[in-house]
């Protein structure tokens, strides 16, 4: 009985996921068959892989609703009740830093950045120098994300309007672009997008919305969102700063 109900609760999200993935299949079919005019290699494998993706997506969303959202929100309520700003900000920093420093996408980008720096003659082209450059960059980005979540949480608590902070950040990016070495700019701009992983986003969103709903005078819609925006903005400034320091 309960197993059956469990399966049924997964069936709906599974169908939703299959619907979500149909556009990708249509795009692939259109370009492969009509534009490139080639057969689809390994059609069975493609359909099987897509089924795995759909199943994974359905499980992930179920897990969000059961685990990540409730824990993010309940921690926000607990911190708001406890009333200790110090511990809340420490938690915010740990969450930003800890989820970013080991992020695989960031490790890949840092490695590429080291290659570029070596190619431009900024650092020696040895494995050791490149490794040190990449590690330094990774740490810089993780620090910047920790800093971003701290500022974002402070903003929710104090009710600062988000646009002034974001516009200030944009100005920072523009000013840094004028001074940063050319070869770091592309990487810096991209680094904003790679820091926020699939597990971090739901947690951080739940935390922000939970904080905004538990603090009097804050509106969860106006004040609850925005943490991710900070986390994608600060790495750009910090990475360009890193490039200037090293160059």
């Amino acid at each position: 009985m309960s197993v059956k109900r469990n399966l049924l609760t997964l069936l709906r999200p599974l169908l939703d996921s299959i619907r979500d993935l149909t556009p990708i299949l249509l795009v692939i079919a259109f370009f492969q068959l009509l534009v490139l005019q080639q057969p689809i290699p390994n059609l069975g494998g493609l359909l099987f892989g897509t089924f795995l993706v759909a199943l994974g997506l359905a499980l992930f969303i179920r897990g969000l609703e059961m685990g990540l959202f409730p824990i993010g929100e309940s921690m926000a309520y607990a911190f708001a009740r406890k009333g200790s700003l110090f511990w809340l900000l420490t938690f915010a920093f740990a969450l930003g830093f800890g989820t970013t420093v080991a992020e695989p996408a960031l490790i890949a980008v840092a490695g590429e950045a080291a290659e570029i720096a070596a190619g431009a003659g900024v650092i020696l082209a040895t494995e050791e120098a490149k490794g040190r450059y990449a590690d330094g960059l990774r740490l810089t980005v993780a620090l910047s994300v920790g800093f971003a979540i701290v500022v974002g949480v402070l903003r929710i608590i104090r009710g600062w309007p988000i646009q002034y902070l974001i516009i200030g950040g944009y100005l920072g990016v523009v000013v840094m672009t004028a001074f940063a070495p050319d070869e770091i700019i592309g990487i810096a701009y991209d680094s904003g997008g790679v820091t926020t992983s699939t597990i971090t986003v739901p947690l951080v969103t739940a935390l922000g919305v939970g904080l905004a709903s538990s603090i009097k005078g804050r509106n969860p819609m106006v004040d609850g969102f925005g943490l991710i925006a900070f986390a994608s903005l600060t790495p750009m400034v910090f990475v360009m700063g890193y490039g200037m320091l090293m160059g």
């Binding site: 492969q32 993706v53 989820t99 190619g119 516009i167 701009y189 986003v201 106006v222 943490l227 994608s232």
Partner: protein, 259 residues
């Protein structure tokens, strides 16, 4: 079978992604908040679902969609396809931006369709619907963001082909965002800024990176190291505009209906 070790590999990688987060959460819960977690069993099962789900998701992508997507990005940017019968242009190595129309269309289509399936965007859309009491629908937000990513990536490939400097596009984009912020409904602003960061994760980044590197490698005069980047930046900037535009449009329609 070679599938089994890969499943184990992905599972381990996902676990090592989740572990630091779990350690921070449970560490603070035990040491600072010092309260038992409500419905601990359900939360733990939820974490298991997240790990299993993400692993299956990644395995499926690696198994089927990414190889084909990369292959198509390569084929669409290959000189043989771009120049086709126009051998004179191919020989002279002259690049005209309109040789690459199929590439822009592919960039648009793949940007849209991968964003619709992006798990972190689904998460934010679910939260936004909950918080707005249904005023912001899951589908409305997801389509607005996907449209923004599609336009952004198409424009980004155009930039790589023409070789114009990345920062001019970004700075102009910032100015547009600031202007829109002045006029957009207040409740959408933070969500719009957030939607820039959620679009680019698991599905979009690998395919888009392959497209950018393929283009920068094959277009004469471009270097993959210097010109291959920037597509992600476009994909994070344009959804901010499209989400604010979506909110402005719905507000304008509501006002017109009332008047």
């Amino acid at each position: 079978m070679e599938l089994l070790p890969r499943i184990l590999d992905t599972l381990l990688a996902t676990l090592s992604d989740v572990l630091p987060i779990a350690a921070i959460i449970f560490g603070f819960q035990l040491l600072v908040i010092r309260r038992p977690i409500a419905r601990l069993r359900q939360v733990l099962i939820g974490f298991l679902y997240v790990v299993a789900g993400l692993s299956l998701f990644l395995i499926g992508l690696e198994e089927a969609l990414f190889p084909l997507g990369r292959l198509m990005a390569e084929q669409l940017t290959a000189p043989a396809f771009i120049f086709g019968s126009d051998t004179a242009a191919a020989l002279a190595g002259t690049v005209r931006w309109d040789h690459y129309l199929w590439v822009y269309l592919f960039a648009f289509a793949i940007g849209f369709s991968t964003t619709v399936a992006e798990p972190s965007l689904i998460a934010v859309a679910i939260k936004a619907r909950e918080v707005s009491g249904g005023a912001i629908g899951v589908w409305g937000l997801r389509s607005a963001v996907a449209l923004g990513v599609a336009v952004g990536i198409a424009l980004g490939t155009f930039r790589i082909v023409t070789g114009t400097p990345l920062h001019w596009y970004i700075i102009v984009g910032y100015i547009v965002v600031i202007l829109q912020t002045l006029f957009a409904p207040r409740m959408i602003v933070a969500l719009a800024y957030d939607s820039g960061g959620v679009t680019t994760s698991t599905v979009t980044v690998p395919l888009v990176t392959a497209l950018g590197l393929g283009l920068a490698t094959t277009v004469p005069g471009r270097s993959p190291l210097l010109d291959g980047f920037g597509l992600i930046a476009f994909a994070s900037l344009f959804p901010i505009m499209s989400v604010m535009a979506y909110a402005q449009l719905s507000e304008w329609r509501a006002r017109r209906n009332r008047g």
